[in-house]
Symmetry: C2
Subunit: 420 residues, 2 copies
Amino acid sequence: MTTVSTVITVEEQAKKAKKAAKTLGILTTEEKNQALLTVADALEKDYQSIITANLIDLKNGEEKGFEQAFMDRLSLNKDRIFDFAEGLRQVAELPDPIGDVMSGWTLENGLKVEEVRVPLGVIGMIYEARPNVTADAAGLALKSGNSIVLKGGSSALNSNKAIVEIIHRALALTSIPKEAVQFIDSIDREATQQLFTMKEHIDVLIPRGGASLINAVVENATVPVLETGVGNCHIYVDRVADVEKAIEILINAKTDRPAVCNAAETLIVHEEWLKKNHSLLADALQKNGITLHGDEAAASLLPDVQPATESDWANEYLSLDLAVKTVSNLEEAIDHIDEYGTKHSEAIITENSDTAKKFMQLVDAAALYHNASTRFTDGGALGFGAEIGISTQKLHARGPMGLPALTTRKYLMSGNGQVR
Amino acid sequence: MTTVSTVITVEEQAKKAKKAAKTLGILTTEEKNQALLTVADALEKDYQSIITANLIDLKNGEEKGFEQAFMDRLSLNKDRIFDFAEGLRQVAELPDPIGDVMSGWTLENGLKVEEVRVPLGVIGMIYEARPNVTADAAGLALKSGNSIVLKGGSSALNSNKAIVEIIHRALALTSIPKEAVQFIDSIDREATQQLFTMKEHIDVLIPRGGASLINAVVENATVPVLETGVGNCHIYVDRVADVEKAIEILINAKTDRPAVCNAAETLIVHEEWLKKNHSLLADALQKNGITLHGDEAAASLLPDVQPATESDWANEYLSLDLAVKTVSNLEEAIDHIDEYGTKHSEAIITENSDTAKKFMQLVDAAALYHNASTRFTDGGALGFGAEIGISTQKLHARGPMGLPALTTRKYLMSGNGQVR
C-alpha cells in the first residue's frame, strides 16, 4: 500500500464515520441496545474466527520475541471473547445519556432554554496491544450515539480485524449503520498521525496505552484529546496511621494488579510512624516479594533498600517494585506528590480526620482516598458502569470515564419571534 | 529585554500563579467576594490612572493608523471603567461553584464517594485589544478559585498594566495573594508562545480574539485549550416561516451588533418563501443598509446582490454584509451549515414544529434557535451571569462559559481500610 492511498483511505474512513454519526445520533435507546445485543451474539457465535486470527498475531509476536506480559495481553481464548460479548450486554443495560435534559429554564421574554445531552460525534481511539479495547470501545461509542475510528496496535492487527468484521456483519442487521465503526487496517504509523489533525471529521481522540503513545498524541494532535491512564500513585502513611490499615492498603494497592494504572508506585511514610512500625512493614513487604528503592532514612530502617534515583520517584514501575520516601510532615508529602504525581489517584492513611481533609483539599488529582486503596479508581469498582479509560486531565472528564464523558451538550432555544 | 530573560520571566510568573492557586483554591466564598469588592472599589477610586495610561495606547494606535472600530474597542473613559467595577460586583454576587458536591454515593463495602467541584488551577488568558477583558477575566478566575496569567494585546499594554497595578494593590489588602493575577508585561510574541506549552504550570488556555489568534493557539498549544468565539451564524427561513417573525429576527441578528460573534452572517432561505416574500424582505434589508452577496436565485429576486464567492459563505463579515443562499429543502440548508458553520449559533424560522425539531436535532452547534434571534447566545442574555467567552468546541464547555466552565472535579473517597 502506498502512502498516498493510505492518506485517502483514512480521511475517507473518517468522513464515513462522520456521516454515519448523523444517523446514529438520533436513534432510540431501544435501537442502539438491540444493535449491541446483536453484536454480542455474533461475537459468541463466530468466536472461532477471532481465535484463528489471534493465533497469527501470537505467532508473529513470538517471532518478534515480545515479552510474556505483552503476549498475555494479546492472547485471546473462548472465555475472553465471551467476556467481550458480556461487556456489550452490560453496556446495553446502562442508562442512555443521550437526550437527557440537563437543565431548562424560561427567560423573562418567554424564550425557552433547554440544555440537552448529545453525542460528541466521532471518537478516534488509538490503542496498543489489548484486542478487547476494540469491542469495548465500539460498544461504549455506539451506546452514546458516537461513531468510532479504531486504530489498534500493529501486533493485534489480525485479531482486531476479525473482531471488527463480526461487528460489521452484525450491525448490517441493525439500525446502526456499519460505517459507524471504522477500523484502520494499517500498521503504518502515518495512518495514526493523520488522525491527529482531522479536526473536520474527528471530534475527540482517546489514546490508551503507555506513556509514549499518550505523549505522542497530546504533543501532536490538534483534535482535542482525552488524556488517559498514566498513574504514578502514592500512598502516604501519616504519623498517626493505623498500622493494620496502612499495611493492608499498601500491600493491596501495590500487589493486587501491579501492571495497572491505579496501582501504588511510591510509599511516602512519616518518619515517626516508620520508626515505630518498620519491622511489621518490612515483614509484609518481604512476604509479598516487593523490591524497595528508597531514600536514606528508609534504607536505615528497612532491609534491602536500593538507593532511589530521580527515575524511581518519577516513573510507573508497573511491577512489584516500590519507592519509599520518608517525610517529617504532611506538607513534605504533598510537595512530593505535586512534583512527581500524575494527577491520577493518591491516598492518605491516617486516623486524624483534619490531616485527611487537608490532604484531600490540597492534593491535585482525579481521585483522593482516605484509608482506602487506590485500586478503586475504576469505572466498574466505583459504580460508573463500563469505562472508556481513566482521565488524568482536568478538562471535560476527570477520573473514570463512563458514557457521559462521550457526550457534549446543545442549548436549544424555542421562541415566538424574540429579538434583542 | 533579551529573549533569555523573557523566558525566565514568563515561566516564573506561571510558577507563582500555580503556587498562589493553592492558597486561593481553599479560600471561603466570603473571602473571595470581599476581595472582588475591594478591587472594584479600587478601580473606581483610581480610574484616572487607567485613563492616563489609555491615552498613551490611543496615541500609539493613532500613530499606527488603526481603524476606527479597533480604536473604539481600545478606548476607555470613566463610565467604562466604572462598568468594570460593576462587573466585578456582579461576579461577587454569583453563586460560588467551588466545593459543590455534584454527586455522592456509598459503595456496598462502605466506601463513601463524593464528586466535588474544584478550581482548574491556573488559567492562561490570551486576548486582543479590549482592556475590559483584563478586569472581567481576573474577576471570573478569582471567584472560581483560579489564578490567571493575562497576556493582552500589545496595543492595550499600558491600559492593561494600569488595571493590573490597581488589582495588585487592592488584592494586597485581601485574602487573595496578589500573585494569583499575573500580567505578562511584554509585546513579544514569544512570550505568548511560551504559554502554549507550559503544561506543568498552566491548566487551560483561553484565547479571545480573531480567528487567526484562536487558530494559532489551537494549532500550537499542548496546554488544553478552551476555543472561543468565531461565529459564522446562519438564519434559515423555512418554506412556512412567518414573514414578520422572519424579517424581524433576521434584521435583529444582522444589525443589532454586527461585529459580535452571535450576529448572523448568512441568510439561508427556502426558494418558495423567497418567491412569495422577496419584496418585503428587500425593503427591510435596504432600509437597514444591508449589503447582499448571494447565489443566482437570490440575485434574480432581490436587488443589488453581488455574486457570492466561497469566502462569502465561509467567513464572518462582522459588518452589515449578508450572504444569501437559496435552498429547496431543509436538508440543503443543513448541508450548507455543516459545510460552513462554526458550531456557534444557528436559527430556523418556521411555523412547522416538526421541521424545527429536525433542524435542532441534526444541526451540530452550541446553540440552536427556533423562531428567535441568534443574538441571545451570551452568558448575560441567557441567564448564566458573566461569561469568560463562548465555547465553540464540544469538550468540557459548549456555548456561553460561566463560572462552572472554569472548574473541574475531584472524586473524594473516604473509607476505613477498604481494599480490592
